[in-house]
């Protein structure tokens, strides 16, 4: 049985995400931006749930909302933002940026219109309970090497962050 109100929830979360995204890039105060981003991330986790990807949704909540965003808030607290709030918010190439983004959007629209029919219309039946197992099998099987590299990347990131942020080592 398909979930009861998929369209309703899809449009709800999509609206939340779009509004959140607009707020992220327009707010003066970086903390408000971060809050909008958190709301966006949580809405996106819900969309993952609708796509029957519960493990990714959980990882999104734990890592993104609970980890990365805390880091962001932490840093925003450390750097005083009062001054940057009084300054001009957008840089001088904002017009160029918007034109470039619009062009990119046009490209997206063109591609989607053209390739609309290549996506199969049927919805695959989903055995909800084995999602985590499937992810785990792939992660520790086929993508084992990538997994190790990812962990190495994290190690490098930790060391890099410490080197950058610490005053005296």
């Amino acid at each position: 049985m398909a979930p009861v109100a998929t369209p309703f929830f899809f449009y709800l979360f999509a609206a939340i995400m779009l509004i959140g995204g607009i707020l992220v890039i327009t707010q003066k105060n970086a903390v408000h931006s971060a809050l909008a981003l958190i709301v966006l991330l949580l809405a996106q986790a819900s969309i993952y749930l609708m796509l029957y990807a519960p493990f990714v949704a959980g990882a999104q909540i734990i890592l993104y909302a609970g980890g990365i965003m805390v880091l962001f808030l932490f840093v925003i607290m450390l750097v005083s933002i009062e001054r940057s709030m009084k300054e001009r918010q957008f840089n001088s190439q904002w017009l160029v940026g918007i034109v470039a983004a619009t062009a990119l959007g046009g490209l997206f629209i063109a591609v989607y219109l053209k390739g609309k029919n290549i996506f199969p219309d049927h919805v695959l039946p989903v055995v909800e309970n084995d999602n985590t197992q499937k992810v785990a099998t792939l992660l520790y099987g086929q993508y084992m090497f990538a997994f190790e590299i990812a962990s190495l990347l994290l190690l490098v990131a930790i060391i890099g962050a410490v080197v950058m942020a610490k005053k005296r080592i």
Binding site: L78, V79, S80, K167
Partner: protein, 384 residues
């Protein structure tokens, strides 16, 4: 005290450092309304994250001009005022003042009075250390010892109340001896208290001495060397915990301490844990002293012959006693009239508080709280 920066005050340091901008630097103002500053002490902390770069004490919020009042009261009239300085060790304050004036007048209190004085002051030492222990543990986060110590301190206050009618600012002694004879059963009650209290010290120690968190919080925190202590004039348990065997009860015996057998507990490292151990040992020694004094309590008069109107000969005198917090000294200049020409108190809390900056440099914010607690200051005495 080797860092050259220590010669600058924290506020000077701030401008000194302006060239090097630091995202983490923070100047915070602790007190005068703060739960852990033991009254109205205000400490300006300059922090790097959690590390203390320097601090400055701002005092005087409880200043009442006790010393100036002394110049306008007769010697007898001033006696109750001294209780209001270190209000948790009021009896010791009274003893110091009475002995100083007695020395000025060349009178000596009779033996019975001296014994009772020793008993009451040592009880007061226990009470003061109990209050210190409770609040110090509360500052470090252990809330239960506070209630244990207050429960037991109550017994001491009951003895005071029965003896002189007051519990906190007792005004127990008079110049020349005692005003009141002890009440019936005084010796027995004091002995009962001692028997009741001995296991209680073990109870406090059981909660804290071997408690891992307590040891981690206090070991190597607020360390001060013996040289620094002497240079800053620090006295009392703080000095003794740094390894200096200096106790006025032994060094310049007053009352009848020379007849009593007791030891001076000494620490080694001069850290907060040692100060804790020294004070705990002092409580045990006080129990020992009281026991001896009660057993040897002689019969006899309680008041020496003192003129009704005291007019000591012109001259000056300094006399000090070992108060629970350190050396409590009184300096009195007499011009031959009924009032002191000049009166000055050397309060142990005030002098010990100077060590705060030395003890806290390089430590963390949480340690500042522990160090303020371990210095055992009473703001009434600091500000006078």
């Amino acid at each position: 005290m080797t860092d050259p920066n220590t010669t600058l005050s924290p506020l000077e340091l701030e401008s000194h450092d302006k060239t090097y901008l630091d995202a983490n630097e923070l100047v915070i103002n602790m007190g005068p309304q703060h739960p852990a500053t033991h009254g109205v002490l205000r400490v300006i902390l300059r922090l790097d994250g959690e590390k203390v770069l320097g601090l400055e004490c701002v005092i005087g919020y409880l200043h009442r001009g006790v010393e100036k009042i002394g110049e306008h009261r007769t010697y007898t009239m001033f006696n109750p005022y001294v209780d209001r300085m270190d209000y948790v060790a009021a009896v010791s304050n009274g003893l110091g003042y009475c002995e100083t004036v007695e020395k000025l007048l060349n009178v000596e209190a009779p033996p019975r009075a001296q014994h009772v004085r020793v008993i009451l002051t040592e009880l007061n030492r226990i009470a003061s250390h109990q209050l210190w222990l409770g609040t110090h543990a509360l500052d470090i986060g252990a809330i239960t010892p506070l209630f244990y110590t207050f429960r037991d301190r109550e017994e001491i206050l009951k003895i005071y109340e029965k003896y002189c009618g007051a519990r906190l600012t007792t005004h127990a002694f008079r110049i020349g001896g005692l005003q009141y004879e002890t009440y019936t059963g005084f010796e027995k009650e004091v002995t009962n208290f001692l028997n009741f209290f001995r296991p209680k010290i073990d109870e406090y120690e059981e909660l804290l001495t071997t408690n891992r968190i307590w040891v981690e919080r206090t070991k190597n925190v607020g360390t001060i060397s013996a040289e620094d202590c002497i240079a800053l004039g620090v006295t009392g348990p703080v000095l003794r915990a740094s390894g200096v065997k200096w106790d006025i009860r032994k060094a310049q015996p007053y009352a009848n301490y020379k007849n009593l057998d007791f030891e001076i507990p000494v620490g080694e490292n001069g850290d907060t844990y040692d100060r804790y151990l020294v004070r705990m040992a002092e409580m045990r020694q006080s129990v020992h002293i009281i026991q001896q004094a009660v057993e040897a309590l002689p019969e006899g008069p309680i008041m020496a012959k003192v003129p009704k109107v005291m007019k000591p000969a012109a001259g000056e005198i300094y006399h000090s006693i070992e108060a629970p917090k350190g050396e409590l000294g009184y300096f009195i200049v007499s011009d031959g009239s009924t009032q002191p020409y000049r009166l000055r108190v050397r309060p142990p809390s005030f002098v010990n508080l100077q060590a705060l900056d030395v003890m806290c440099r390089g430590q963390l914010v949480a340690d500042v709280i522990a160090v303020i607690g371990t210095l055992d200051i009473v703001l009434g005495e600091v500000d006078r």
